[in-house]
């Protein structure tokens, strides 16, 4: 087990997560979200550094609150403890709503598209239960992404 992997394992009484230092380091590396996601194999279960996408601010209310819910989601779905997978799934859901949509679009546009998507997922019954809360699948993954970014 390498050091990075060990670092990301859930801690007793809590969930594995990135520190602010990790976040800043990865940001400095200048990895683009899309590029990073594209470089990972879907079968790859190793953790990856997380760059917080700009559009997340337009979507999430209070980040600390969202992160707490996100951690509960990650505890239930440890295979999502990878930013690239979370982002890829969010993007996939957005593209299902609008095939031409790209996460590189304007943050405002992405925020609005995500709002529509979350409502649509409730309409379609595409929900998950997190600590008892009934959330849209994408909503839960947005909180998980926040958890990995704070």
């Amino acid at each position: 087990m390498n050091a990075e992997h060990r670092f990301l394992l859930p801690r007793p009484g809590g969930s594995g997560r990135y520190t602010r230092r990790t976040f800043l380091l990865t940001a400095l590396l200048g990895l683009t979200v899309g590029g990073f996601a594209a470089s990972r194999s879907p079968a790859d279960t190793s953790p990856d550094p997380c760059v917080e996408p700009r559009w997340l601010h337009k979507t999430i209310g209070d980040r600390q609150s969202a992160a707490r819910i996100g951690r509960a989601y990650l505890d239930l779905h440890p295979n999502y403890r990878r930013c690239h997978r979370l982002i890829a799934d969010i993007e996939k859901a957005l593209k299902r709503q609008d095939a031409s949509f790209s996460l590189t679009a304007d943050a405002e546009q992405t925020g609005s598209a995500l709002q529509r998507l979350v409502r649509k997922e409730f309409t379609r019954g595409e929900v998950v239960s997190v600590a008892g809360w009934v959330l849209s699948g994408t909503e839960a993954r947005l909180y998980a992404l926040t958890a990995m970014s704070v």
């Binding site: 209310g61 209070d62 609150s65 649509k120 409730f122 309409t123 019954g125 600590a131 009934v134």
Partner: protein, 513 residues
Amino acid sequence: MFTDARNLPDRTSVEADLAIIGGGVAGITLARALAGSGISVCVVEAGGLKPDPEVQSLYEGENRGIDYSPSGTRLRFFGGSSNHWGGFCRPLDPIDLEQRDWVPFSGWPFTIDELRRYYEPAAEIVEVAPGRFDDSDYWERVTGEKLPEWVTGRMRLQFVQFSPPTRFGSRYQDEIKTAADIRVLLNANVTRISAGDDARAVERLDIRTLNGLRHSVKARYYVLAAGGLENARILLLSNDVVQAGLGNQNDLVGRFFMEHPHLSGFAEMVVVDIGRLPKIVRERLKAQGRFAKAAFNPTQSFLREQRLLNATFTMGVAGAVPAGKQPNRADAHDAARRDMLLAARHFLGDEQHAAKPGQEDDVGVWLGIGAACEQVPNPDSRVTLSAQRDVLDLAKIKLDWRLTEQDRLSFYTNLRSLALEFGALGIGRMRELIADRHDWSQPVHGGSHHMGTTRMSDDSSRGVVDGNCKVHAVDNFYVAGSSVFPTSGVSNPTLTIVALTLRLADHLKERIR
């Protein structure tokens, strides 16, 4: 005229065209409906005009199933259980009467259309007329608030109207007292419905009083209207001709006991902006002199598509969720609500109702949710006779109320639908507080609604009474009240009891003339 049976000479025999056993909602409604028709009526009421603990104790019984009080859920005095009625009024839904292939033993002998014409006069009797039970436009107009347009197709709003509530015993006492052709025997306990040797007709009612007198009532026709538990008991006690009990040749009397399982504390909803939820959804409102509240019910198409039982959900504001830089971890529920509201702020607003920024004292409110459900008719959920005896030396009832896995799964699916509607509209988020979806982890209560024990079917192998509420194979004997409901629906039964009794009155008027 009211007569106390304890003051009559011993072995008095009273005669009438029609004898009604029970002076509750059904009995009083039937007597009133027949007043002035030329039919003489004798109402045989086990209690007096006021509650009496000694009389009430005759309702005690044994309980074997889900925790339930046979005595605490009904009242043995004139007016019957209307004396503790909460006043909730709603007709049944059309689907409630249908034969549904996913609901065993479902199907009434007639459709809702047969009851529709009786619901309006019934609404007058329980003092809620005119009934506006599905009229969203009306409630929007009189409350001045637009109701949300639900988007998932799973849920709809219906309206409960509240009776004052009408206490039938006091509300209609004077009218009955002065009716020339109605006689009420008070404190008269029917101990047996005595049938002829071939059990094809009832010949008399045997009556005993708590002061040791024995009387009888003879009539051309008889209606048993003593409530969903006592109807079964009296039939089972009347076993001198038919050993299994009168009307029980097919072992149906007492079976299929149904309640409306009521649950609370199983889920809650948080909303950022309570203004997005009209008042009538969250509180009982008075409009044009009448009280009403909106309830969430599954749409009929969704019930069909998902093969579900009916259910109804109501909401009320339980409290504010205070803001705070650090959630108070001492109150985990409050902290969870705050996190949800703060995290989802952008999802819980719309252009007309922008979500408020989080600096106010409160970040939103949370609402408690109440539920009442339909349960599947279950032959093993039943009333039988106990080995225990009451002061009249009659067997008490033994109640074994049971629910099934189908009931549970249906409830959970309907509950989830509520979460989906609120999420789809961006109004709120629901938290399920159910620990184990394979059990009723929250306490289940009844609504004091006793149904199904003398079920109605035109097929005598499936019902105790036929579509006219006449006991199969007994020519002059009828049953009134919710014990004849083959399925329970989810509406409180009183309005339907009254409607069904008015229908029976029409039938009897034709028949007795």
